[in-house]
């Protein structure tokens, strides 16, 4: 057996090594090389380095290594001697390996043919489209009528109805209305109770009336009295 480094030292481009079959085929086809000199551990290690997730490939690899081992084992015996495993068909493993290698070699040759073909076509230039042809289904437009377009635009251009303000019920009477009214009441009676004076009015009117009261008070025309919070408000003429 050669040392482990022997395979690496063989005149093989191991960078271009493309898997156990590639390596094996190359080795076997080299007339000067004896299969017995092939370091199986090297092949196994390289395979483990390259190993993918594919269990089937692993299985095939085991078959390959087993075949290789059998070939090597048979090589250890002188040809005329009977190999000790009579139960097995001695041609099976070797035959299977030869079949695998032959199949692989066909495709390696085909790959070489493709490479040559590509070289021969290196002066063939053509334009590559961005996408495969996809016939666009025709979508014919309906016959167009200008009148219907105009009608549609008219509908859009119509003045919108004025927004209704009916839901807004707050209407404010002028403060002056209550100013006059309170002055008139004071001229007649000299004093009055505010709550009684406004009790029939709406809340908004009551608020405006109170504003009028404050106006009169500010002007000093009236005086205002209240016994306690939320009691009746009494109003009298300040002059009186």
């Amino acid at each position: 057996m050669l040392p482990v480094s022997a395979v690496a030292e063989l005149p093989l481009d191991l960078d271009a090594f493309e898997g156990p079959f590639d390596l094996l085929l190359t080795l076997v086809l080299k007339e000067e090389l004896e299969l017995a000199d092939v370091e199986i551990v090297e092949i196994v290690l390289t395979f483990l380095d390259e190993r993918g997730e594919d269990l089937e490939v692993d299985g095939e690899f085991l078959v390959l290594v087993a075949s290789l081992l059998e070939l090597k084992a048979r090589g250890l015996f002188p040809e005329e001697e009977e190999v000790p495993f009579e139960d097995l068909d001695p041609d099976d493993a070797a035959g299977e390996l030869a079949e695998l290698l032959a199949q692989y070699r066909r495709f390696r040759t085909a790959a070489g043919w493709l490479e040559d073909k590509l070289d021969a076509e290196s002066d063939r230039f053509f334009r590559l489209g961005p996408a495969p042809l996809a016939p666009v289904p025709e979508r014919p437009l309906a016959p167009q009528q200008p009148e219907s377009l105009a009608a549609a635009l008219r509908a859009l251009a119509a003045e919108p109805p004025a927004p209704s303000l009916r839901h807004i019920t707050l209407t404010f009477p002028p403060v002056s209305l209550f100013l006059e009214r309170f002055r008139a009441v004071l001229r007649r009676r000299g004093r009055f109770v505010f709550d009684k004076e406004v009790e029939r009015l709406t809340r908004v009117e009551q608020a405006v009336a109170f504003l009028a009261l404050l106006e009169l008070r500010k002007a000093g025309e009236i005086a205002i009295g209240q016994a306690a919070p939320f009691e009746e408000i009494t109003v009298w003429n300040n002059a009186a």
Binding site: V28, K72, F126
Partner: protein
């Protein structure tokens, strides 16, 4: 006067007009167009389309025109004349065909011959996992998914029309027969046994 009528008739020759239409279609097409596709687009008979293509092929040929009509990838397409290749190479890159590795070429060969074929099948033949080679070829557009394996459900791949075009093949039938590539199987077998036996001998 007679001359004038002649040329008028030539221009109005229906096959000639069909040829001009096909010329236009080939110029705008991103891929090779089959006779059927041309017949559908021109709304004409396939036989007449083929006649018109013959007319175009004699006009667009090496040595006569910078544009060459070629029969490729199951159809017809224009390409540059080979004499213009150097100028073309200065103008455009060819990323699809550039730097295909040995692994990629082997995988491509297997897909071309056996496709649709799944990654495990490719790996079985090559003895190594084919994942990255397959992914690279898909990215280049040379192979594409073609359904799933009925048993295992693995994605299967086949070559694309682009593959045929890049390699200048009219169709996959132009590939050499696998059997022709395997002429020396028996020799390989003998050699194997010989090598195995030589140690003991």
């Amino acid at each position: 006067m007679e001359q004038r009528r002649m040329s008028l008739r030539l221009i109005d020759n229906p096959v000639d007009r069909l040829a001009r239409t096909i010329e236009a279609l080939l110029v705008i097409a991103p891929a090779a167009l089959s006779v059927e596709e041309l017949a559908a687009a021109t709304e004409d008979e396939p036989e007449r389309v083929e006649t018109a293509l013959g007319l175009l092929a004699s006009r667009y040929r090496e040595g006569r025109s910078g544009i060459v009509l070629e029969q490729v990838a199951g159809g017809y397409a224009f390409r540059a004349a080979r004499e213009a290749a150097e100028a073309c190479a200065r103008l455009v890159e060819r990323p699809v065909q550039r730097g295909l590795s040995q692994a990629a070429l082997e995988t491509l060969a297997i897909v071309a011959y056996l496709g649709p074929v799944s990654r495990p099948e490719i790996a079985r033949i090559r003895g190594v996992a084919a994942d990255s080679a397959v992914a690279g070829l898909v990215e280049r557009g040379l192979i594409a998914e073609a359904g799933r394996d009925k048993e295992g459900g693995a994605i299967r791949y086949e070559t694309t029309p682009l593959f045929e075009r890049v390699f200048g093949l009219a169709g996959l039938s132009e590939l050499p027969r696998l059997d022709d590539l395997a002429e020396d199987d028996e020799g390989l077998r003998r050699r194997l046994e010989e090598v195995a036996g030589s140690r003991g001998a």
